[in-house]
């Protein structure tokens, strides 16, 4: 935080910044929580990590010079989530991209419609995905982010967002229409 009483100019700036923070950043509080909830797969952890991320955002707010405030905030939330995962559940990150994706015959719209109609099953399928697939889906489908925003939030080159989404959707399709593998049972321990 820094400035003491002698830094009056800084302090005055801070009060204005605080009002700006409340006007610009706090409206995206649900977005912050939702992203944390899906990356961490649990509401309790999400609450703690999202709180911490919002406080970090508050401290970094001086460094935010306009632009897409939601993307800026979600980037901080995402980083906080991964830092937390590295510390608390490193296994989840290490098993990331080792599974081979093969072109599959493709689920039929009918089977997907039936499988996806159930909130619980959909939640389970999403949670069974590797975090990096899950996050792009959450950002795109729940948060409605553009490719440009997803690239900014995830530090991914914009040219790879499309293929990351393609891969994530294919994984989700498979998780929904194939028998539940052991991995997703393990993934559900928090529910």
């Amino acid at each position: 935080m820094g400035a003491g009483v002698e830094g009056k100019d800084l302090d005055v700036l801070d009060s204005q910044e605080r009002v700006r923070f409340e006007q610009l950043v706090l409206p995206h509080l649900d977005a912050a929580f939702n992203l944390a909830r899906w990356i961490l797969r649990g509401r309790n952890d999400a609450e703690d990590v999202a709180q911490e991320a919002m406080l970090r955002a508050f401290r970094f707010f001086r460094g935010f010079h306009g632009g897409d405030v939601r993307a800026w905030l979600l980037q901080i939330v995402r980083n906080s989530c991964y830092t937390w995962l590295e510390k608390n559940r490193p296994m989840e990150l290490s098993t990331e991209f080792d599974e081979e994706l093969y072109p599959q015959p493709g689920a039929t719209p009918e089977s997907l419609a039936i499988a996806g109609d159930n909130r619980e099953r959909l939640t389970r399928a999403l949670e069974a995905l590797p975090p990096r697939s899950r996050e792009v889906l959450v950002l795109r489908e729940l948060e409605g982010c553009s490719y440009k925003e997803i690239a900014a939030i995830t530090s991914m080159p914009i040219g790879t967002v499309m293929s990351a989404l393609a891969r994530a959707r294919q994984r989700l399709e498979r998780a929904l229409t194939q028998p539940t593998p052991a991995r997703s049972l393990e993934a559900n321990r928090e529910l």
């Binding site: 935080m1 400035a3 003491g4 009483v5 009056k8 302090d11 005055v12 700036l13 801070d14 009060s15 605080r18 009002v19 409340e22 006007q23 706090l26 509080l29 649900d30 912050a32 929580f33 939702n34 909830r37 899906w38 509401r43 999400a46 609450e47 999202a50 709180q51 919002m54 406080l55 508050f58 072109p103 493709g106 689920a107 039929t108 719209p109 997907l112 419609a113 996806g116 109609d117 159930n118 909130r119 959909l122 939640t123 999403l126 889906l137 795109r140 489908e141 729940l142 553009s146 490719y147 499309m162 293929s163 989404l165 393609a166 891969r167 959707r169 294919q170 989700l172 399709e173 929904l176």
Partner: protein
């Protein structure tokens, strides 16, 4: 058998991220490619499921309040030694409450108001305008309360260590004045405790600071359309200000003086 566009461009198309020319190309391709056609339909179904099953999870109740409590907490304790000017009827400027915890942001927003070297008499009107100003500032977004609580047992301890006196904190919801919270404020260079009460849809700020003087009979007035009443009792000087009518303020004054 498999079409490579199914794994790539199809997704840019679904997401509306292809430029017009590439989108048109892909649409032409769709006519000839049953695999992409079927995959497109499947993906659209999947998207509809995701969006319609209520997977979006909002922050729990209290999340925002908890956050605000954390970032509004004074960042550090800074001794503030201000030569204290005289308020109202006081002739000398020897107030005893010198060391106060200065809320980081409060000092910030209010420091321009500190008028150095004020000595001598100050009229009741000057005090009133300072307090009406503080009341107006408090009504700006995010300024009303530092501690949001309707519970006097939360608000009272919150002041501990922030001011060197114990403001009388009581919830008067039963009398139609629900406690909304408290904050630190600065009036004429003095740190004061403020209790915030509600009255129907109105906000009442009660500014409180200690005094060594004998009890002061209530004096009231209005300024810029805001009513105020100023009194002291038992070593605490108080000034209530609000846009509620003055009989209501008097009711509150009586309750607080009990």
């Amino acid at each position: 058998m498999s079409c490579e566009l199914t794994q790539s461009v199809l997704h840019g198309y679904i997401d509306g991220e292809l430029d017009a020319a590439r989108a048109a190309d892909f649409e032409r391709h769709l006519i000839a490619c049953p695999q992409c056609t079927s995959a497109l339909e499947a993906q659209e179904t999947l998207r509809a499921s995701i969006q319609q099953t209520g997977l979006y999870e909002r922050a729990p109740a209290g999340f925002r309040r908890k956050l605000e409590e954390q970032y509004r907490a004074p960042a550090q304790v800074a001794p503030q030694v201000t030569p204290l000017p005289v308020l109202s009827r006081l002739r000398s400027s020897n107030w005893q409450w010198l060391a106060v915890a200065a809320g980081f942001f409060l000092v910030a927003v209010l420091s321009w108001r500190l008028i150095p070297g004020l000595t001598g008499n100050h009229s009741q009107t000057e005090l009133a305008s300072a307090i009406v100003d503080a009341h107006l500032r408090s009504l700006q977004p995010g300024h009303l309360v530092d501690v949001i609580s309707t519970d006097q047992h939360t608000v009272k301890p919150w002041f501990d260590g922030k001011v060197d006196f114990a403001p009388p904190v009581r919830d008067l919801a039963g009398d139609g004045f629900p406690l909304q919270g408290g904050r630190l404020d600065v009036v004429k260079g003095h740190q004061v405790a403020v209790l915030v009460y509600g009255r129907r849809k109105h906000v009442i700020n009660v500014f409180i600071w200690p005094t060594a003087q004998p009890d002061l009979k209530p004096q009231s007035g209005s300024q810029l359309g805001y009513n105020w009443v100023h009194w002291s009792k038992g070593g605490m000087e108080m000034c209530a200000v609000s846009d509620v009518n003055s009989p209501d303020l008097d009711v509150l004054r009586n309750l607080l003086s009990e």
